[in-house]
């Protein structure tokens, strides 16, 4: 499964929006990492925890400042400083910017949410109805050009991403990649430079994902200077000075591409010092960083699109760290084989999952028996065994549409579907289908024939090949429908029997509403269950964590009972390194999230 053929999907979209942070927190740490016996020392899974982590807070720890240069490779190169601009948005920008731009919160390797105490005093809900959140910035935090990192910058983040600023043609003038949560904020106020007060129109339990995790805080002073707009906090998403707003939007979406030293200062531990388009970006320690400095003097982040080539470069000593958001069995195997040379390999579940949606508009799938039989014959464990375990040895089939495996609240709702063709066959026979002489189930003289539609990614083709063999004995004829344009036009028109693809965003659970509620914008399969609608409505606005989680679990269980969509597995991330003490691939922020803590070991 070479990835030269699927690098389109390698533009995994940045984890949109925020997370149900509360639910993510404190996930068990045994979900990731190869814990093979050949590990020289320690356990890779424990590297998910940052050195500077303490409770729910993070402070840069005291680590030796080395003079080394580390070369880190990842699938695609960095392209833009403002990763929220829709045409620039991709995870690989986040991977580079994780050390460059500070936010209110950050995530550790287990996606535990940590308050960034290097730059923040506190974040508190100061009112529940309406929800008001007050963000207090530590005094003295600056950008690398010496300007204060303050409320203006937060204000600009909100201003750019409400999705409400429309031009004369009715189109969003910012086209932010990420409006979730920001569109619910009615106003942002700056009582002082170091205090930000956000008032929500609708309750939003995921507020911790704002201003940092879901969206990078850009330097407002640079934009003000360049556009001649004296103070962005005087502007509002709608109404107000439209001319100035237009100038701000234009600068925001076009001028922060690539790298320009004057326009792109750093607010994190590292600053960008060099950039070679389509190849690499160089980071060096930020002398104005307020936290404790540490880590390598220089980090070069390179894009190498072929995973096997990444592994070979590590083997050959040209790079010190590999980080791959796209799993590749061949590269994984190669990297595991290098343990005797001191290379350590890790893999962990990433934040997108492969699934199959069954279309209720299809005449066979209108019958729940056929949906059930289909789910019964698919052997998800074999899929995981052949496609995922070569990368992540302890991968298990995913048992939920709502939660990831390590999350609090996860229950396996699909445990009964184990690839039992005989059971599938009897389900069909019990519902009045007869198995014909050619071994295919028929009803009313018609053969039950099901097309699985997907884009041309090798792994998906392999998935369908395997399912074809698995479901044949059950009497279901499976047809492979590979269409590079499947996601473009067909999926949103509901033009499929079974849609095989991955939801590539984070568990921002309130955005799931659009997928599963009746008539939802991304509910292309005509799925409708009023009880699920009610559960989602409750879950995505309830500020009580436990109650919200319970409602999500209800929705999850109800959907499983309806045999609507079969989750297959989570797609793993993988990484490898040599000569560094602790490296972990953070599923949102890539390998550099804790680079300020790296210590050279040999």
């Amino acid at each position: 499964m070479s990835t030269k053929r699927n690098s389109l999907s390698a533009i995994a979209l940045v984890v949109g929006a925020s997370l149900v942070l509360s639910a993510c927190g404190g996930g068990s740490s045994d979900n990731g990492g190869s814990t093979g016996a050949q590990e020289p020392t320690g356990d890779i899974a424990s590297m998910a925890i940052a050195k500077g982590e303490s409770g729910d807070e993070y402070t840069s720890p005291e680590v030796p400042q080395s003079t080394d240069t580390f070369v880190v490779s990842t699938d695609n190169p960095y392209t833009a400083y403002n990763n929220s601009a829709a045409d620039a948005n991709n995870s690989y920008n986040t991977f580079a910017l994780a050390q460059v731009i500070s936010g209110a919160y950050k995530l550790d390797g287990n996606n535990k949410v940590l308050l960034n105490k290097d730059v923040m005093e506190s974040v508190e809900i100061t009112s529940k109805s309406p929800q008001v959140v007050t963000w207090k910035i530590k005094p003295g935090v600056t950008w690398s050009d010496g300007e204060a990192w303050d409320c203006d910058d937060f204000y600009l983040a909100w201003l750019s991403s409400t999705g409400k600023s429309k031009g004369a043609d009715g189109k969003d003038i910012f086209t932010s990649a990420n409006t979730t949560g920001y569109e619910l904020i009615d106003k942002v106020e700056c009582p002082s430079q170091t205090e930000v007060v956000t008032t929500f129109g609708t309750s939003y339990p995921d507020y911790k994902g704002l201003f940092g995790i879901s969206l990078d805080i850009m330097p407002a002073h640079i934009l003000e200077k360049a556009t001649g707009v004296a103070d962005v906090t005087k502007l509002t998403p709608t109404g107000g000075d439209q001319v100035a707003l237009g100038k701000v939007a234009e600068f925001w979406k076009t001028k922060w591409n690539g790298f320009d030293k004057e326009l792109m200062p750093a607010s994190g531990a590292y600053q960008i010092t060099a950039f070679e388009q389509n190849n690499s970006v160089t980071l060096e320690r930020n002398p104005k960083w307020v936290g404790k400095p540490g880590g390598p003097a220089k980090i070069v982040l390179r894009g190498i699109s072929d995973q096997v080539a990444q592994a070979q470069a590590l083997e050959n000593g040209e790079v010190q760290v590999n980080s791959m958001a796209q799993p590749d069995a061949n590269a994984a195997e190669r990297l595991r084989g290098l343990s005797s040379q001191g290379v350590r390999f890790g893999a962990s579940n990433g934040l997108s999952f492969e699934h199959m949606d069954l279309n209720f508009k299809n005449k066979w799938f209108a019958d729940q028996a056929v949906r059930k039989a289909f789910m019964q014959c698919v052997n998800r464990d074999e899929l995981a065994e052949k496609l995922i375990r070569p990368v992540l040895e302890n991968a298990k089939p995913l048992g939920s549409l709502v939660f990831f495996q390590a999350e609090e609240g996860y229950t396996d709702n699909y445990a009964q579907y184990k690839g039992d063709a005989a059971a599938a066959k009897s389900t069909l026979e019990g519902a009045g289908y007869t198995i014909g002489g050619d071994g295919i189930a028929t009803k009313g003289g018609e053969k039950v024939s099901i097309k699985i539609s997907h884009t041309d990614i090798p792994r998906r083709k392999q998935t369908v090949e395997l399912i074809q063999s698995q479901c044949k004995p059950a009497g279901l004829e499976i047809i492979d429908d590979t269409d590079p344009n499947f996601l473009d036009t067909r999926v949103s028109q509901g033009d499929y029997d079974v849609a095989l693809f991955a939801w590539s965003a984070a568990p921002f659970k309130s955005s799931q509403k659009a997928i599963y509620e009746t008539g939802g914008g991304q509910n292309w399969s005509n799925y409708a269950n009023p009880k699920v609608d009610a559960a989602y409505k409750d879950a995505s606005s309830n500020l009580d964590e436990a109650a919200s989680r319970k409602a999500f679990q209800d929705a999850d269980r109800l959907m499983a009972e309806d045999n609507y969509s079969l989750p297959l597995y989570q797609l793993p991330n993988m990484w490898a390194f040599k000569g560094i003490d602790k490296v972990y691939f953070q599923s949102y922020n890539g390998a550099l999230w804790n680079a300020n803590e790296w210590v050279k070991t040999s």
């Binding site: 499964m1 053929r5 195997e333 496609l387 392999q462 074809q468 590979t482």
Partner: protein
């Protein structure tokens, strides 16, 4: 990589630059003489030991591809085994990632690669000869139209168009073959045009024309038989270059796509196993090299057989 038969140094014809005329080596057409010529050619070819050996290798490879499934009955779709099994009696070349039998894969891949190469060679020869002969015989507006068309097709690198079209259409073996043929006929057209230009001046063609023969008749009964040597050799060489073009295209993932397979695609899927499971890499590699080597030697032998004058020089 020169995927253009004109760039094939093993080719019979040199490289006629645009606008210049290739030297024709035709003998005049006559039925009895032609029969004699074909016997002669065959006899000369079979005296060329290397070429005969190459022919045997080529036929063997074809036999593996086309008759292999009769002897090796493991289904190519059977995924019930574990992935990446080492070679054993049940799987002489082990299994690939999804648990499919490598030997069965290799047999199908060989067959489809040979099919692609043959379709490309024959297709591009047909189109090239037809257009080249038309241009050379009719001249004037037809000639310049065809020549400009050839120029247009030569401007865009074949591998690029093929990649674009595979992305736009599909990656089944026949699409790939059709596309490679559709963008691989230009050299043959140029060579044929050159030969036709010189043949059309000969008395026997003029006599036929004077007798009122139709264009179609003249081209197929008089011109083509006299160019058969050049055409055959170039067709052979086109087979070799099609094998390599297909491999290149499939390697970058813009060639044959599953569920079809080909030697190039098998290499794409298994190249990184070169050290861990060498049999997965070297199997398809050896077949590709043997295939293209054999065809090149056959071409060499054919060229010598058709053109004994040159044989003195070379062999």
């Amino acid at each position: 990589m020169p995927s253009d038969p004109a760039l094939n140094p093993l080719g019979a014809t040199g490289l006629p630059p645009a606008g210049t005329v290739a030297v024709a080596t035709a003998s005049e057409f006559d039925t009895t003489k032609a029969r004699k010529q074909s016997t002669l050619v065959l006899r000369r070819f079979f005296r060329h030991r290397l070429a005969v050996a190459a022919l045997v290798v080529f036929l063997l490879i074809c036999a593996i591809g086309f008759l292999g499934p009769l002897f090796w009955t493991v289904s190519v779709e059977d995924t019930s085994s574990r992935g990446y099994l080492p070679p054993s009696a049940a799987h002489p070349l082990g299994t690939i990632q999804t648990g499919k039998d490598m030997l069965a894969q290799l047999i199908i891949g060989t067959r489809l690669s040979v099919q692609i190469a043959l379709v490309v060679a024959i297709g591009s020869t047909l189109v090239g000869v037809l257009l080249g002969a038309l241009a050379g015989y009719l001249r004037g507006a037809v000639d310049s139209t065809i020549s400009r068309f050839v120029d247009l097709m030569l401007i865009i690198p074949q591998i690029a168009v093929a990649a674009i079209l595979v992305r736009a259409l599909s990656g089944s073996w026949y699409t790939v073959a059709f596309i490679l043929a559709a963008f691989g006929w230009m050299t043959i057209a140029r060579i044929t045009r050159g030969e036709t230009l010189s043949l059309a001046q000969r008395e026997f063609v003029e006599a036929a024309r004077a007798a009122g023969a139709k264009t179609r008749w003249i081209i197929f009964r008089h011109l083509v038989p006299n160019m058969i040597g050049t055409i055959t050799v170039n067709t052979t060489l086109a087979v070799a270059s099609a094998v390599l073009s297909e491999a290149a295209l499939s390697f970058i993932g813009l060639g044959v796509q599953p569920p079809d397979t080909s030697l190039g695609l098998i290499i794409n899927e298994n190249y990184s196993q070169i050290t861990n499971r060498p049999w997965l890499f070297w199997g398809p590699f050896v077949i590709i090299v043997l295939l293209s080597l054999a065809v090149n030697f056959i071409g060499d032998g054919l060229r010598d057989a058709f053109d004994p004058r040159q044989t003195k020089v070379r062999a």
